[in-house]
């Protein structure tokens, strides 16, 4: 009889435990902090002509909508541009600047620029990481003869540094965007 008493006590305790669980209101919204929705590459010509903007914008992050890719104009033959890359998380408001985080952890990141064979464009790194190896959120782009093709920007996380280019760099891809551009 004693056993049954103890048991029924245990059951009552258990049930009351179950019923007073944390039954709060609706859950908290999560706006992902590390999502990169927007990459904007600003190409400012050294000769003062028109600035060109390349942008990939994916407001739903890794969602069903594909990124919207825009290129505001054509590159001018023989012109050198100062390139700057800005990464934003626009799922938050105000938008969060992810470039800052990449620059803070510069030794763990590197941008690579891949130019398709038909396009007469060369690139050069414009900034380095804390160890003096290329980082690439800033770069110099020189447009050659009239041509057309794609520029692909790849941000790798934890690549081998220093490296001989993207083929051997390894690491994990954080960003990969291709833009169709023309040199005129």
């Amino acid at each position: 009889m004693k056993t049954i008493k103890t048991l029924s006590l245990a059951v009552v305790a258990a049930l009351s435990f179950a019923s007073c669980s944390d039954d709060d209101d609706s859950p908290e919204l999560v706006n992902e902090e590390e999502v990169i929705t927007t990459m904007t590459v600003t190409l400012t010509p050294t000769d003062g002509s028109e600035t060109i903007t390349l942008q990939s914008r994916d407001l739903d992050g890794d969602g069903s909508d594909a990124p919207v890719i825009t290129v505001t104009g054509n590159l001018v033959t023989g012109t050198t541009y100062n390139g700057a890359i800005v990464l934003l998380n626009e799922t938050e408001s105000p938008a969060e600047d992810i470039t800052e985080e990449v620059e803070e952890e510069s030794d763990e990141h590197q941008f690579f620029y891949t130019i398709s064979s038909g396009l007469d464009v060369t690139t050069e790194y414009g900034n380095n990481d804390s160890d003096g190896n290329p980082l690439g959120t800033e770069f110099i782009l020189t447009a050659g003869a009239a041509s057309a093709g794609t520029i692909t920007f790849t941000l790798r996380h934890e690549p081998t540094k220093p490296n001989d280019g993207i083929e051997s760099a390894g690491g994990e891809t954080d960003i990969l965007v291709s833009f169709d551009v023309s040199v005129e």
């Binding site: 056993t3 049954i4 103890t6 048991l7 245990a10 059951v11 258990a14 049930l15 435990f17 179950a18 669980s21 944390d22 609706s26 859950p27 908290e28 919204l29 999560v30 992902e32 902090e33 590390e34 990169i36 929705t37 927007t38 990459m39 990939s56 994916d58 407001l59 739903d60 992050g61 890794d62 969602g63 069903s64 909508d65 594909a66 990124p67 799922t91 408001s93 985080e101 990449v102 803070e104 952890e105 763990e108 891949t114 398709s116 064979s117 794609t150 692909t152 790849t154 996380h157 934890e158 993207i166 083929e167 390894g170 994990e172 891809t173 954080d174 960003i175 990969l176 965007v177 291709s178």
Partner: protein
């Protein structure tokens, strides 16, 4: 004390003087178990010289007693002597029960085993304690892998999930120590949170027969049972130490049991496992170490008629995930697949870095039983589980030490079972289950929830009846009904919500709208029926035929219903569907089993037709700012699984034995008319063993396992544009790896130390030839080879 006794004596004698003492105490002495009369039981009245013996009908009668309380002692040759206090008030009649058959207690224990059989009409595959000890350093999945028809799904070396006849995850019910495990195994990379060292034996039922645990075991049920503790005064334990070369680590597990003849018993147990990076034949598998710490306590009180037991276990496991498997998109996948070595190679280390999993599982259970004469046995159990799963991804900035996934799942379950023998040949087991579950996904991870917050309520009732038609023919039938209510709070991205047409289909569940997300409150009611019918026929002592048919219904799990987004660890976008219905499986299994000292075998063909089977498979490639990702979508279809499991043993000589196992399973999508993804390839294991009990119980075994190539698979390859080469390249994610053959060696010898303790020393080698291989069911097969040679040294100390 002495004065008190004197006082009592004095009072007694006083009262005897003051009363008329012509009362009669009469009655009967019967067996506690079956109520039969006990002949020749001796009854002694303390304080008087009176002694009587029961007659042929168990009756007795004692004359000349006063109106007072007497101390009576009853003894019988085959019973525990018992003492009673009886108040005599006039002529009194009393029946005494004695626990009979002391000498036959072992027989009763054996009968108990038979009643504990998980199913009467399904041939059981059981892993014995000895076999479990061989896998002391491994996982539950590794150990079960050694049974025919059970394979494993791996996410690395230490995340191993059992697959029964081609199915896994939430289609397998895991009953650990009488508690159904609720450990978030809805993802492929969630292994069961069970310390294999707590189990005395493990039984696999390849069917839904164990409907007392749930009606949703589409694949089967795995039951781990704790040690049986006998009611006698003893103190014993064992300690196992296992050290391996691969992973350069060891496992230490220890158990101590104290039992008493008054019914009390207690067991404490603990395990610690520490391994560094495991190694493939040619390289270190970076970040695959593991650190596991478990402990359990069991305390109880057992009598024949009633008992109560408490159990608590703590499981904590930190598991590294192969660094090279952490990739960022299809382009990385091409690089990884085309590379012959993993993309990340580092030196050996014990450190576990990101990505990793960190799991904590608490389990507490209290159960009690009471036997009622002529009615049966009533069992009552309450259990509580709390499972916390942390998954750490490689993250940047301030978040680098914050987990990407932080889930806490709490489960309360209350069970009441009644075992009753309706007649000599008919028994009925019935019960009711109530469960409440609460999942909380911590938003402070800063990552959108993979599994939403939800509350789930389950109520189930079941009954299983067993009829012994003839001595050699047994029939079993059971039915179960489950009701499940789910109350979910889930955020959806507006773009996904609209692309799925949910806006038109489920407008009523939207609670609130934010910028680009919606809060929804889906609620589900599922009414599921399940059942089992089976029969066993014994042609003779050795040859048996089993037939079992089971109907199982499984409620879709939260990942199947609600997934939408990038699953980082799988590097794919996973999409669930809000409109899923329950899966319903009809499985029929036949078994022909022959036991024998020279030759024995079992052949077990099965067919499993699953209506509304939920399968996740690649459907398209989605472009994101990180590049292209494969999209894996859940969908429902009708599936059919067919297969056969064969076991055979042949004694070549008194010392040499040959064992054979063969498993085949074919899975088809009957709607899409294609092969099902991730089906285990045909495999066979052959083993030669040498045993010599006289030579210190020397055991040697050479084992060969051969896994064929999986030739039936859906082609889900896709192409991706690679900027560097300016070409489209095929991402081959579906072609299965080649067949492989592994050799394993096992040996052990016993060394007696004292009368009561002995030492067993074992030496094993797995993958003896250091073969390079990749396993189709290992999700890391794209990135690295499987484990290379491992030397394993075991020490077992029994005391």
């Amino acid at each position: 004390m002495r004065i008190y006794a004197l006082m009592v004596l004095l009072l007694c004698s006083l009262s005897s003087f003051s009363q008329i003492c012509n009362n009669t105490l009469s009655g009967k002495v019967i067996d506690l178990h079956d109520g039969t009369a006990l002949v020749g039981a001796m009854i002694i009245i303390a304080g008087s010289e009176q002694t009587v013996v029961t007659d042929i009908n168990g009756n007795f009668s004692i004359q000349n007693l006063c109106d007072q309380t007497y101390a009576i002692q009853i003894s019988h040759p085959y019973c525990l002597t018992s003492g009673h206090k009886i108040k005599v008030d006039g002529n009194t009649v009393k029946t005494f029960q004695l626990e009979h058959h002391l000498e036959a207690l072992n027989e009763i224990v054996l009968k108990g085993h038979a009643q504990n059989k998980k199913s009467n009409t399904l041939a059981q595959n059981t892993l014995s304690g000895e076999k479990i000890e061989q896998f002391s350093s491994g996982s539950l999945g590794d150990a079960l892998n050694s049974l025919s028809g059970v394979s494993s799904l791996n996410t690395g070396s230490t995340v191993v999930k059992p697959i029964i006849n081609g199915l896994h995850s939430s289609r397998v019910i895991l009953v650990n120590n009488g508690v159904r495990m609720e450990d978030q195994e809805w993802g492929v990379e969630h292994a069961p949170n069970i310390d294999i060292n707590t189990a005395e034996n493990i039984t696999v039922l390849k069917g839904a027969s164990a409907i007392q645990y749930g009606g949703d075991a589409i694949a089967g049920v795995i039951v781990t049972a704790p040690e049986k503790i006998f009611i006698k005064d003893s103190l014993y334990g064992k300690t196992l130490l296992s050290a391996s070369s691969n992973g350069r680590g060891s496992t230490l597990t220890s158990k101590l049991t104290k039992s008493d003849d008054n019914g009390w018993f207690g067991t404490v147990q603990g395990t610690i496992k520490r391994y560094g990076d495991f190694e493939a034949p040619d390289y270190v598998l970076s970040n695959t170490g593991t650190f596991e710490r478990n402990a359990s306590v069991r305390i109880g009180f057992n009598k024949f008629n009633y008992g109560i037991e408490g159990y608590y276990s703590f499981y904590k496991n930190e598991i590294g995930i192969l660094t090279a498997s952490h990739i960022g998109g299809a382009e990385d996948q091409v690089r990884a697949i085309n590379s012959t070595v993993p993309l990340v190679l580092k030196d050996f280390t014990y450190a576990i870095t990101y990505p990793k999993q960190d799991i904590t599982h608490h389990l507490a259970r209290i159960k009690a039983f009471k036997k009622f004469n002529g009615f049966g046995k009533v069992n009552l159990q309450y259990d509580f589980q709390q499972n916390q799963r942390l998954e750490f991804d490689i993250r940047v900035g301030d978040d680098s030490d914050t987990p990407s996934l932080d889930l806490v799942l709490k489960t309360h379950t209350l069970l009441i079972d009644i075992d009753s023998n309706l007649s000599e040949n008919l028994s009925l087991k019935s019960g009711i289950m109530a469960r409440y579950q609460d999942n909380f996904a911590d938003p402070s991870t800063g990552v959108r929830r993979l599994i939403p917050d939800y509350e789930k309520y389950d109520i189930g009732v079941y009954g299983i009846s067993t009829v012994q038609l003839q001595d050699n023919w047994l029939l079993e039938a059971g039915a179960r009904f489950d009701y499940t209510y789910m109350d979910v709070f889930k955020f959806y991205r507006t773009s996904f919500w609209e692309s799925r047409n949910y806006a038109a289909l489920f407008p009523e569940i939207v609670v609130e709208e934010y910028d680009n997300q919606l809060l929804t409150n889906p609620q589900y009611n599922f009414f599921n029926a399940s059942g089992t019918v089976g029969s066993t026929y014994s042609f003779n002592d050795k040859l048996k035929f089993f037939f079992n048919y089971s109907l199982a219904s499984r409620v879709p799990n939260p990942s199947e219903l609600f997934s939408e987004g990038l699953h980082h660890s799988a590097s794919r976008i996973e999409l669930g569907d809000l409109s899923f219905k329950s899966e319903i499986a009809n499985k029929a299994t036949l078994t022909l089993q022959k036991e024998g000292t020279v030759f024995g075998f079992s052949i077990q063909p099965f067919i499993n037709n699953i209506h509304n089977f939920i399968v996740i498979e690649p459907t398209k490639v989605e472009q994101t700012i990180r590049g292209n990702f494969q999209v894996w979508e859940y969908r429902q279809t009708n599936a059919q699984l067919l297969g056969v499991d064969i076991d055979a043993t042949y004694a070549l000589s008194p010392h040499f034995n040959f064992n054979h196992q063969f498993s085949l399973v074919k899975g088809y999508d009957r709607q899409g008319d294609s092969a099902l993804i991730s089906m285990p390839p045909v495999n066979t294991t052959n083993e030669i063993t040498y045993e010599n009990p006289k030579a210190n119980n020397l055991k040697l075994a050479l084992q060969s396992t051969y896994a064929f190539r999986q030739n039936e698979y859906p082609n889900t390859n896709f192409e991706v544009y690679i900027a560097q080469s300016e070409s489209f390249e095929l991402v081959d994610v579906s072609t299965p790896p080649d067949a492989y053959h592994l050799l394993n060696f096992r040996s052990s010898i016993d060394v007696p130390i004292t009368k009561k303790s002995n030492l067993s020393v074992g030496f094993n080698v797995t993958n003896l030839l250091n073969t390079r291989y990749r396993n189709y069911l290992n999700s890391l097969r794209y990135y690295a080879d499987d484990l290379g040679r491992n030397f394993l040294f075991n020490l077992k100390f029994n005391y």
